[in-house]
């Protein structure tokens, strides 16, 4: 049974910006599904159409069995949402934050009390129920944010960039909590991320999205296998200048079409060569390049990563710094926390 199903879902913003461009996908009950892509790929826009915050321009989407345009109220009852910005109230305790959402979902006082207890344990905040959120750390706020989206036991939880802005350790912890929520409560999770590792670690299935289009969908293993055996990365030059680009073009021209090379893809200062078996391909590559007088500064071999998958389907790499977007509100909050 699918809890999310879209058909040619499209959002065009004024100025003919096609943020989401006719995407089709479905998410099954209890599944963790990740949208992986760089900023501006259309991830947040997709989430906002699915959780009824904005209307699609065309196409359709059903969430938890209801059309998002025709029955938004029914959809809202059955979903939870944690945006990239942590939407918690700092001048309130964790319990008060959670209770407010309990009321919004029409839960009675007794149920709210029980859910608060259960959820605080699930996200590892037990003991902090009656502490002010202003005293919570960034990771704790995010966990409270997740819990607020879960108080009514939704069928789908939407997480928009759940770990952006958190340090690596906190991020790894949060992954455990997200996994825990999904597996313990059986909720389907739709998450967006620009972190390869996050998609790799958390998601049952991954959709790679770029420029508003889904490039491919599959499990992490399936996506990696679609690349072929190994990735040989050649670094032909030290400085990334025009000469280097020319150098990489020449290297690529020499290698492409050779029987042991599946495909090649140039990136910034490097050339990725996809081969069936790296161990036996490297000598051949070296020999071939040597015979053409091309000198390679370094060569390395690896199993394909999601980075390679992304590169293959989009022709670009996702870089972490692309995603390090800090909003004004986040800066303000950081400043106010420092004052305390």
């Amino acid at each position: 049974m699918s809890v999310i199903e879209t058909k040619a879902l499209t959002k065009v913003f004024p100025g003919d910006v096609r943020a989401v461009d006719g995407i089709d996908f479905q998410v099954n009950a209890g599944e963790i599904f990740a949208f992986l892509g760089p900023n501006g790929a259309g991830k947040t826009t997709t989430i906002k159409m699915l959780n009824t915050l904005i209307l699609p321009t065309s196409g359709s989407a059903r969430v938890a069995g209801f059309d998002v345009v025709k029955h938004p109220a029914e959809v809202r009852k059955r979903i939870g949402y944690a945006a990239q910005d942590v939407g918690v109230d700092e001048q309130a305790t964790g319990r008060e934050n959670l209770a407010l959402y309990g009321h919004f979902y029409r839960l009675d006082g007794k149920t709210i009390k029980a859910r608060v207890k259960e959820l605080f344990e699930l996200v590892g905040l037990n003991g902090y129920e009656d502490k002010m959120v202003s005293a919570y750390s960034g990771g704790m706020r995010k966990r409270l944010d997740l819990a607020m989206g879960m108080i009514h036991q939704p069928q789908v939880l939407f997480l928009d960039e759940p770990t952006t802005g958190l340090d690596p350790q906190t991020r790894a912890h949060l992954w455990d909590y997200i996994n825990n929520l999904a597996k313990t409560l059986g909720v389907a999770i739709f998450l967006t991320t620009h972190y390869m590792e996050e998609a790799d670690r958390l998601a049952d299935r991954i959709a790679i999205i770029d420029l508003g289009k889904i490039m491919t969908i599959g499990t992490s293993d399936e996506l990696k296998k679609s690349i072929g055996g190994d990735v040989v990365t050649l670094t032909p030059c030290v400085q990334k200048d025009e000469d280097c680009k020319e150098f990489i073009r020449r290297t690529e021209a020499v290698l492409s079409g050779k029987p042991f090379v599946a495909s090649t893809r140039p990136t910034d200062g490097e050339l990725a060569v996809y081969v069936k078996d790296g161990g036996s391909a490297i000598p051949g590559i070296m020999q071939l390049l040597g015979s053409q007088g091309i000198e390679v500064k370094s060569i390395s071999m690896s199993r394909p990563s999601l980075d390679d998958v992304f590169l293959k389907y989009t022709g670009r790499t996702i870089r972490a710094q692309e995603g390090a977007r800090t909003t004004f509100a986040q800066l303000q909050r950081k400043a106010s926390r420092r004052q305390k």
Partner: protein
């Protein structure tokens, strides 16, 4: 309907709770009106007597300070909504079944409740300073109701404006541009008859003046029903229009 009332209640509680927990905010927002009360009555001390209809300037000016407290308290309340938008609280709420109109109503009502409490405190301080309210406690309650209507109008307008322009700087500039002239172009500081002719005309188009005239009548004279009804009707109508405007802006934003 019950859901809407319950949601509004919870949003109001949320708004009041967060304000109570910032004692600095409460102190600061009371400090200014108290300063006016003390300072202005000293500056204009010599103006008492016949010009003020036989009362001291303190007696004359205290109702104006009550109105100003509510005006400033409510006119800047749109910032709360902007903060909610900036922090992602609003969009998180909108993804729940919460009744849409409750969010804006709750925000506005919380702001009005706080400024009414402040107005009541100003009344008490004024009484301690020696202000004598002609109509007693019932009159004070009616006065608080009049300023509540003014507060409702300005809080709703401020929230609607915040939703329209979505920038704190713009809301700040517009609100400052509006509140100061509204205060001076009324009989807040001087009786209408003592104002230049054009100002005395202009003030009749100024909602703040209707609040001041209503409250001042209750403090200085008694129940002057012709003035009171005019104040209640004008401010009530304005409040209805402003709430409708805020709700319209909110719907536009939410969809």
């Amino acid at each position: 309907m019950m859901n809407a009332l319950a949601d509004t209640w919870h949003i109001v509680v949320r708004g009041l709770r967060s304000r109570i927990r910032m004692p600095v905010f409460i102190f600061m927002s009371l400090f200014q009106p108290v300063l006016w009360l003390v300072l202005f009555t000293q500056i204009f001390k010599s103006l008492g007597g016949s010009m003020m209809g036989g009362s001291s300037y303190l007696q004359f000016f205290a109702p104006g300070v009550v109105v100003m407290t509510v005006l400033f308290g409510s006119a800047f309340s749109g910032f709360g909504l902007l903060m909610m938008m900036d922090m992602g609280i609003l969009s998180k709420m909108l993804a729940t079944p919460v009744t849409r109109v409750s969010i804006i109503l709750g925000q506005v009502i919380a702001a009005v409740v706080v400024s009414i409490i402040q107005a009541a405190i100003i009344f008490i301080i004024a009484a301690i300073m020696g202000v004598d309210v002609a109509t007693g406690v019932p009159g004070v309650l009616l006065a608080l109701f009049i300023v509540a209507l003014l507060g409702l109008a300005f809080a709703a307008f401020s929230n609607g404006l915040a939703l329209l322009v979505k920038r704190q700087e713009t809301v700040m500039a517009t609100t400052n541009l509006l509140t100061m002239p509204l205060m001076f172009m009324s009989s807040t500081m001087m009786p209408g008859e003592a104002l230049p002719g054009w100002l005395n005309t202009v003030r009749h188009f100024n909602p703040v003046d209707y609040a001041v005239v209503g409250v001042r009548g209750l403090v200085l004279e008694g129940y002057v029903w012709s003035d009171l009804w005019r104040s209640l009707v004008v401010l009530g109508a304005l409040a209805v229009v402003a709430v409708a405007f805020a709700n319209m802006m909110f719907r536009r934003q939410a969809e």
